[in-house]
């Protein structure tokens, strides 16, 4: 099919675009809505909110999740908060400022119209969530409290202690439950999407596998929404949940959907480092620790003394040294790279050498242990539970880890991919965060997409569509089902030596070393050589015991790793093609003399959208050029 990267951005001044769009959306008449069926893949913030809102409008919704309950989606783990341009603090915040901060934070690699709409909707999200009963933090007068978050200069972050994600998800889960109770949403739990069905360039449905019985079934609909989250787990160790995967989006990519900016992967600087080979995940510690904590390593190479034994003048507070103005509060990507650099030079601490100290001793001395514990008590407990070290006695060890992926399926202003009728929401799409996401913006985007953008946009699409349900017995469905069946059988019958985890761990290592926090041509080329070899080995040497007709975690994992083994190449191609440093993507070839990221607006001011060209071919790059009509790109400086 021919690819057109038409973003369908409405006319008019930036501030009026969304209103203009709303005014001109096609509508489906109320008595016709129940005739349309929408499939939603994923039940996190974006998926649950979209399912609920569409069902409220009257559409039939079928929602799928591989979890046992929609409440377990990984949105639950977001700690910090959710941004909204409410200006409740009277500190000069506005829709424009949130828009500006997001564009700048994304290093000028996002679409202005989308970001402006996100900022416009942000306030409505808070209104809706409060109405749902989400217990946001409040002050003594009973008003909503705000905090400043992620290096911005205004207090616009709404929060619910350290578990804003869980509370917002419970709100969306509640809305979803209400619609399930009304019979308008059919919920399919422990069911994984394994194929998208596309007929005549239109998404017609999906093929799923029931994870308990292994039954493979077909579901047709008038529109398909993918809200399946991000792909950080590609790197094996990340802060993501174990089951997070790229399968749904990657399957859509293989059916023709474009994958945009896959190399934009965000790394979070303050995670608890891995202590050994068998560790399964890295736990994120709130970035707020950097407000009071000082980050350092010993000045002397190979200094094995315990941290308390190292006197102050033998410590290198490298962030304060390199970035005197912002010190320990430099943005995530800069802090992460600095930590990696210092560890690569051999100054890292801990058993693996992949760690630096985050020291709260000065804060404890200045503020008293009580105040520090009030601020970070729960983090102290969490750290101690995991590492058995008490942070009030000895400095914590931290190391960066993969945390969020800005890249995702390419979508237009209506959140529809280049495949008609395939909508992509939340972290699964690429739309709003450019090359780097601001703290507390992920929750905002997921909910904006699900509650407020997808429902009218999907109505607009359905209005031009006949209400007859696509035939799920068509040849396209038969073919897709057969493909899934074959693939499952193939995986079960390889009878090799190694588990899916074994390959995943190797892939993670290749990616972390060659396409991690900083990237160069040589490493990327090397990764592109190693990945196909590993993939080949996987398909010859995978071992799964048990059958496909039972709950088989090894089989589930193998399917996901198989997709990662292909997707990793797309990511590396993207990283290789983007020979500039922007946001979270740091190309060593593109840096200033002092080692800071150097963006190249002249050559790379575009969204890179990759098209699948067959298993043995390099994917094809399509460029959506970005307009910077409102905000002229400037350089970030944190010196």
């Amino acid at each position: 099919m021919s690819i057109s990267l038409h973003a369908k951005i409405p006319d008019g001044p930036l501030a009026d675009k969304w209103d203009n769009q709303l005014a001109h959306f096609n509508l489906v008449s109320p008595n016709n809505k129940p005739k349309y069926k929408v499939i939603v893949v994923g039940s996190g913030l974006a998926g649950a909110s979209a399912s609920a809102s569409l069902a409220e409008l009257g559409y039939q919704v079928d929602c799928f999740t591989f979890h046992d309950s929609p409440r377990r989606a990984h949105s639950v783990a977001a700690q910090g908060g959710i941004n909204a341009a409410k200006n409740y603090r009277n500190d000069g915040d506005s829709i424009y400022r949130l828009f500006y901060d997001t564009i700048k934070g994304g290093d000028f690699r996002s679409r202005e119209a989308n970001v402006y709409r996100l900022a416009q909707i942000s306030g409505q999200i808070i209104d809706h969530c409060v109405a749902q009963g989400i217990p946001f933090a409040r002050d003594y007068a009973g008003y909503l409290d705000n905090r400043s978050f992620g290096g911005v200069q205004v207090s616009r972050t709404f929060y619910a202690r350290g578990q804003t994600g869980q509370q917002l998800l419970l709100g969306a889960y509640g809305a979803l439950n209400h619609q399930i109770h009304q019979g308008k949403v059919t919920m399919h739990t422990r069911t994984e999407m394994l194929e998208l069905v596309v007929e005549d360039d239109v998404a017609k449905g999906i093929i799923v596998r029931n994870l308990v019985t292994g039954e493979i079934s077909r579901h047709s609909a008038h529109a398909v929404i993918i809200a399946s989250g991000g792909y950080s787990n590609l790197y094996y160790l990340s802060t993501n949940a174990q089951a997070c995967n790229v399968t749904a989006t990657y399957r859509a990519y293989k059916k023709g959907a474009l994958f945009a900016n896959p190399c934009f992967t965000q790394i979070h600087p303050t995670c608890i480092p891995a202590s050994n080979e068998n560790q399964s995940k890295l736990t994120l510690m709130s970035e707020s620790l950097r407000n009071d904590g000082r980050i350092w390593v010993p000045k002397k190479l190979g200094d094995k003394r315990s941290p308390e034994a190292i006197p102050d003048n033998e410590r290198d507070y490298f962030l304060e040294r390199r970035y005197p103005a912002f010190g320990n509060l430099v943005p995530r990507d800069i802090a992460s790279r600095a930590v990696k650099n210092i560890c690569d030079q051999g100054y890292g601490v801990g058993s693996t050498g992949h760690g630096v100290y985050l020291d709260l001793a000065d804060a404890i001395q200045k503020l008293g242990l009580k105040t520090v514990k009030e601020r970070y008590g729960n983090l102290f407990e969490m750290y101690q539970r995991i590492t058995d070290d008490d942070p009030s006695q000895t400095p914590m060890k931290i190391y960066p880890a993969l945390h969020y992926t800005m890249g995702g399926l390419w979508v237009d202003y209506h959140l529809m991919s280049n495949i008609q009728g395939l909508f992509v929401l939340g972290e699964a799409n690429f739309s709003d965060h450019g090359a780097n996401r601001l703290g507390a913006s992920a929750l905002m985007q997921g909910l904006a997409d699900g509650y407020f953008i997808a429902p009218p946009s999907i109505g607009h699409y359905l209005a031009t569509y006949q209400p007859e349900l696509p035939d799920s017995q068509s040849s396209a469905f038969n073919l897709a089902l057969e493909k899934v069946d074959n693939r499952v059988n193939k995986l079960v019958n390889i009878s090799g030596q190694h588990s899916a985890d074994y390959f995943h761990r190797q892939l993670g290592k290749i990616m972390w070393e060659n396409c991690g926090m900083s990237r160069n041509e040589q490493q990327l080329t090397s990764a592109l050589e190693q990945i196909p070899q590993l993939r080949e080995q996987f398909w010859q040497d995978l071992k799964i015991t048990g059958s496909d007709k039972m709950l088989n975690a090894q089989l589930e994992k193998a399917g996901r790793v198989a997709d990662y083994l292909e997707f990793a190449e797309v990511l590396c191609h993207d990283a290789l093609a983007r020979n500039e440093s922007c946001g979270a993507h740091f190309r060593e070839e593109s840096q200033s003399t002092s080692g800071e990221a150097k963006r190249d607006d002249e050559h790379y001011s575009y969204t890179a959208a990759w098209e699948y060209k067959g298993d043995d071919n390099t994917p094809q790059l399509h460029k959506e050029m970005l307009n910077h009509d409102e905000v002229k790109p400037s350089n970030r400086s944190y010196k």
Partner: protein
């Protein structure tokens, strides 16, 4: 580095194993004991099970099925009764945040699924907790239509109420309360959920209906009754206090005598 004997429940209720034979543990289920060596004390309990599963795989056995996901104590997917205590011997901890340093070298660790009629075993240690979802579907929400809300600060909420609601809202829906309760009662779960909304002004209009519907659904699912033992509170990884059960008792009493609409939809609600 330590060695352990892991005595673990295996069960394949579907009765399907590889080649159509019976799955591990058979339909009725039984305990199997495995030996696992050289376990680093900094590994989490689930990572130890990961290693055991790799070992089983290498021995051509079928790995043990267990639920898990976020591995940072917030998604509520992990379960397990370890040495007789849900989520293991450490308090305020989910299984995924339980570390092997708390287990003695050469000890036998007994791992069982959460046991309740309302939580049937799906396979090995995986149980079906969808009863919780159905309780929530019965009324655990505020029925606000998207777009209908007024400005967030038009409703003022006293900090105390917001904090109390929040403590209830920290429930992760793991089901440890049910597993720990001698009666397999879901009262702490339901109490936390009804209280979260019932303590907030937004939750008032639907409060009596919500309380009655959720309690009825709890009963229909076959959970036991509360005997005020407070084992739930002790097992709760999020330390949700049993005082919310008192709150639910009060709300239920008031709702029963003030709500005129609610009618039992099911004959079973008189008998269970």
């Amino acid at each position: 580095m330590a060695d352990y004997k892991i005595k673990v429940w295996r069960q394949s209720p579907l009765g399907i194993g590889p080649g159509g034979g019976e799955g591990p543990g058979g339909k009725e289920g039984k305990f199997e004991t495995y030996t696992i060596n050289n376990i680093d004390s900094d590994l989490s309990f689930l990572e130890m099970l990961d290693i055991l599963n790799q070992q089983l795989l290498q021995e051509n056995n079928i790995p043990i099925a267990f639920d898990h996901d976020c591995r940072e104590g917030i998604c509520g997917a992990c379960s397990l009764v370890i040495n007789g205590v849900p989520h293991g011997p450490e308090s305020s901890t989910t299984t995924c945040q339980l570390y092997m340093r708390h287990f003695e070298h050469n000890s036998t660790i007994i791992v069982e699924p959460f046991r309740a009629k309302a939580f049937p075993v799906i396979q090995d240690l995986v149980v079906d907790r969808s009863a919780f979802d159905r309780i929530m579907q019965a009324g655990g929400y505020i029925s606000v239509h998207t777009g209908a809300a007024t400005d967030a600060n038009t409703v003022l909420i006293a900090k105390q109420s917001a904090d109390d609601a929040f403590t209830a809202a920290t429930c992760i829906g793991c089901g440890a309360c049910v597993a720990a309760c001698k009666n397999a009662s879901a009262m702490l779960f339901v109490a936390a959920k009804t209280s979260q909304l019932g303590l907030l002004p937004q939750g008032q209009p639907e409060k009596t209906n919500r309380t009655l519907k959720m309690v009825q659904q709890m009963q229909l699912e076959g959970f036991g009754n509360c005997s005020n033992h407070y084992e739930c509170e002790a097992a709760c990884p999020k330390n949700i206090p049993a005082s919310y059960i008192a709150q639910l008792n009060k709300d239920f009493l008031i709702s029963s005598f003030t709500n005129k609409e609610f009618e039992c939809q099911n004959d079973n609600c008189y008998e269970s």
